[in-house]
Symmetry: C2
Subunit: 450 residues, 2 copies
């Protein structure tokens, strides 16, 4: 038979088992953390009607969309999880309870030009809180806690949650009489990290700012100090613009709640250079960067918006949300060798290797271990002992269990810790307890290296 060459499309992540086990651990951690904050799971279709998905229309995204016809339907694959959420909330408005807090971890599709580290099919992990008409600032204040606990649960320590407020920015530009230039200015400011203070200042002047205005903008966005000190310095603009005052108060609320939410000072920063999508966000905005790898950019971003579903409904649905580009994050963590090899990635905790033809004792032992919650594989291939041990080694199982005539006679199983080489014999029930204790001990390892 002529063979078709098996291949996976470029731009599509497909992992070998050990790496997939790490990805699964990350997704499981996200589900658990999001659940701890009261977010409910949502699952929307991959395929939507193009008319619905592209209600907003235009933009760079549209060119990247996988769009096709089937029957008489004009269909598209979702390119983010926000538009499907907007559709879902508008469609089910009467049956949802607001504030509606949902998380969704799912694949989205963008036909981007293929390049290293860019994916055409990738996971996003989103959370959003949607209010009906209004939504308390406390929802914005809680977001840094969720970001912090998510990454801490994954094992990350060196990261910074950067927060700004769009009302503060808008108010500041209004005070300077530069409201209509805000987009251009923030675009320049966004490059500050890369081009430096001096060049940034020069570009502002070249753009038509006066030297004084450019200097004031530079001073503003580079306001330094602790969060408290930054807030105090920003106070000098107080009382001159309503939007600014409200934004400053919101920013102060967000910063003030951090200790009670358990967020360490070192993982948080007010960063006045952050704007994010000028036409969508209206309040607090978030970015999260790896302190030791700023070049990677933000690994978790989002913000407060006023109108989730304006293309579908007249209802005012303000919300706040963040998104993790999970596939890209995984790619980056792997490339930076930041994924831990301490966590158990083997398909099983125990490999049972029967040494007799009659497998009934081995099967009973497997059943007992599984009932104790121990992931157990029964090795039943007809191979030499050496091949069986090699199999256990290659899988990286924490424990091998041997059951031969002697063990059967004595009513025990022989357990070998594959890492330390230590062995012990015990009745299956007792062995299960010892194995489980060791697994619990090793289970505290985090998937990302601190």
């Amino acid at each position: 038979m002529e063979k078709i060459k098996p291949r996976t499309l470029s731009g599509f992540m497909e992992l070998l088992p050990e790496k997939q086990a790490k990805m699964e651990r990350i997704m499981e951690t996200l589900r658990r953390t999001y659940s701890l904050y009261g977010f409910t799971a949502l699952d929307t279709p991959i395929i939507e009607a193009s008319e619905v998905l592209l209600a907003k229309g235009g933009g760079e995204t549209e060119k990247q969309i996988y769009r096709f016809s089937k029957g008489d339907g004009d269909l598209s694959l979702r390119f983010d999880l926000t538009v499907p959420l907007a559709k879902y909330v508008a469609l089910n408005y009467g049956q949802l309870t607001f504030p509606f807090k949902r998380y969704q971890i799912g694949k989205v599709f963008r036909g981007e030009r293929a390049q290293r580290g860019r994916f055409r099919e990738f996971y996003q992990a989103d959370i959003d809180v949607i209010g009906d008409g209004e939504l308390s600032i406390m929802n914005e204040a809680e977001i840094p806690a969720i970001i912090y606990h998510t990454f801490a649960a994954l094992g990350l320590t060196e990261f910074k949650i950067r927060v700004n407020n769009r009302k503060v920015l808008n108010g500041f530009f209004a005070i300077l009489g530069l409201s209509d230039r805000a987009a251009d200015i923030m675009h320049t400011i966004d490059r500050l990290d890369k081009i430096g203070m001096e060049k940034c200042h020069r570009l502002l002047v070249e753009d038509g700012m006066s030297e004084a205005a450019a200097a004031e903008i530079m001073a503003f966005v580079t306001t330094s100090g602790t969060s408290g000190e930054k807030l105090e310095k920003l106070g000098q603009y107080g009382g001159r613009n309503e939007s600014f005052d409200m934004g400053l108060s919101e920013l102060a609320t967000v910063a003030r709640c951090l200790p009670e939410f358990g967020v360490p000072e070192k993982n948080f920063e007010i960063d006045l250079t952050i704007a994010r999508g000028l036409d969508y966000y209206t309040g607090t905005v978030y970015e999260t960067t790896l302190t030791e790898h700023p070049e990677i950019g933000s690994i978790c971003s989002g913000g407060r918006y006023d109108n989730l579903a304006e293309y579908y409904t007249d209802k005012r649905l303000p919300g706040v949300g963040i998104s993790i580009g999970l596939t890209r994050l995984f790619y980056v963590l792997e490339e930076q060798s930041m994924l831990s090899d301490e966590i158990i990635t083997a398909p099983a905790d125990v490999l049972i290797i029967p040494m007799t033809d009659d497998l009934s004792t081995a099967i009973s032992a497997a059943t007992l271990l599984r009932e104790s919650g121990i992931r157990t594989q029964l090795y039943t291939e007809n191979k030499k002992f050496k091949a069986k041990i090699a199999y256990a080694d290659r899988l990286g199982v924490p424990f091998a269990v041997f059951i031969g005539d002697d063990e059967i006679k004595e009513g025990v199983i022989k357990v070998k810790d594959m890492r330390s080489g230590e062995q012990f014999a015990a009745a299956a029930a007792g062995a299960a307890v010892r194995i489980k204790a060791e697994l619990v001990r090793r289970g505290t390892a985090r998937v990302i290296k601190g």
Copy 2:
């Protein structure tokens, strides 16, 4: 602004939060059960090259495939999880360890004609064990145990795992000199449940069988008794055909191991009417039916095959696998009112309702409860007390926590069990212990009603 009517395409499942919570519980249970048997998680792309996905070509499936072009690529959405597995194993053959045991729970796509209970986008939950050149019969023997423990973990009690062996069938037809008629005969036998003994016999005769042959076929497929009795009756055909003898021995092995694997006799049956896809399976075949709802058909099926990836590689890769059509199963369970309302489907276990303007105590309590693993939502909207309680009711949270001036003064939180109405006050840490104990108690509820 003109609005686009929000809608979800027909044939695509999109659940409200409470139902989604049940679906999540089912998927979590499947992941855990599959893991207990040593299966590793796999995730393959939704989109594959059409050439690769359609290597087998032709057939009914091809018409249903979502196929489209993007750039210069001819792409298709996967229509099952078996073809991607074959591609994956052929592609990564050198890096996998055999037997390779994987599970995959993922969406597949088939553009079927829309009708009630039929889905165009649906989850499949598959497990497969793939051998390199050979694979022990014990892998086939373990499958009923996995099916049993999966459905038992979901809460199902009234189901039957029906098992047959293709070698037994092929051997039997060879003994009768009817090998070339086997497909037609099994097609008729497949309808036995619906049309009855008499009509089935008549159809066989109309198809050209002699009265004697038809009678022997009918007697064979309706062999009655316990598994042991059936195996004994089948013994009468022993020694006349090699395939039959091997199949009978395999069937005996599968049946013999059940008690040690913990599968109750009542959930297992040798059923000689089961054939399943005559050109693919070569050994044990499985179907699983709801005892009280036979009309639903099989909810978990599969079998042993000899060549997983023959379209991609010359390597002989025998395997055994089963598949659950998860979206359809969920639909059926819901329609039959078999989903339990006992499990907690609220987004949070605890809703904290602060009664003071200063939220710091409430935030600290939320942080503490979350650290104890309790899913906690902080209610911070500016509403009347009645509206806050109504919110807790609508979400169906098990516990509401009230923190007012009195509680703050006394250093306690007030906890209300929303089901019983009982209240108690305790320091947050102590309250967490009591709440958790009650959640553990309720957590034993299964998602499917027994």
